[in-house]
Subunit: 132 residues, 2 copies
């Protein structure tokens, strides 16, 4: 029964594999999915720690959305909000070490993004020049 053929076995294994892969990717997307979270983390990793800095750097984000995303990022342990009580109360957001675990993801995504833009450009110029 067990060594009947390989089709059945590999199908099953594939299917288990697949479920694991799917659920881990799903977990990841749950935490860092959406339009902004990764972008905010990238901007912060580049030294943007103030609210308005972030708003200017992350193109197209509104104050309302930035505010709520920062809250979520804080709840999930990616960043902290530091309020310096001294002279003019300044508020800074800082990355926590945990956000560094995202480096690989950010790297992969940005490399893919670069090559994808290239591809789109090529596709367009091909279509454009294919007029008979």
């Amino acid at each position: 029964m067990k060594e009947q053929n390989e089709t059945e076995k590999s199908t099953k294994e594939f299917s288990e594999d697949c479920h694991k892969l799917l659920s881990s990717v799903s977990d990841a997307l749950y935490a860092i999915g959406g339009k902004w979270k990764l972008m905010i983390i990238i901007a912060m990793a580049r030294g943007n720690n103030r609210f308005t800095e972030l708003q200017r750097m992350v193109n197209g984000i509104s104050a309302r959305v930035l505010s709520s995303e920062l809250k979520e990022l804080e709840m999930n342990g990616f960043i902290v909000k530091k309020v310096s009580v001294g002279y003019p109360v300044t508020i800074e957001y800082q990355l926590l070490p945990y956000s560094e675990t995202l480096q690989e993801v950010v790297g992969a995504l940005s490399r893919w993004g670069v090559q994808h833009r290239e591809k789109i450009k090529n596709d367009m110029s091909k279509e454009g020049s294919s007029k008979p």
Copy 2:
């Protein structure tokens, strides 16, 4: 003027870097962002090529959403729809080579997802056991 100090220079470079990174990640998210696209590609890479197979494999997706996501994936050159005209018309979706460029992204995301789930589990057990 040029070697005044390093602070100014590196700030500027950081900022340029940052914009590039942000726009490439943004491009990537535009194409493969959202809850389902990557999951569908993963499922297909594991040998699920029929509509209902995919629907069963990708947990929680509805037929309507699957149908529209498949259309988008086709438009963006990740998959093709093959209709065999013979006997009971069967429809198969197949990955195109371009979807393989996503391997790195999928790998990174799933590894991160796995460790993130671990982290959540640990965090919870810590909080749970800290009752005085």
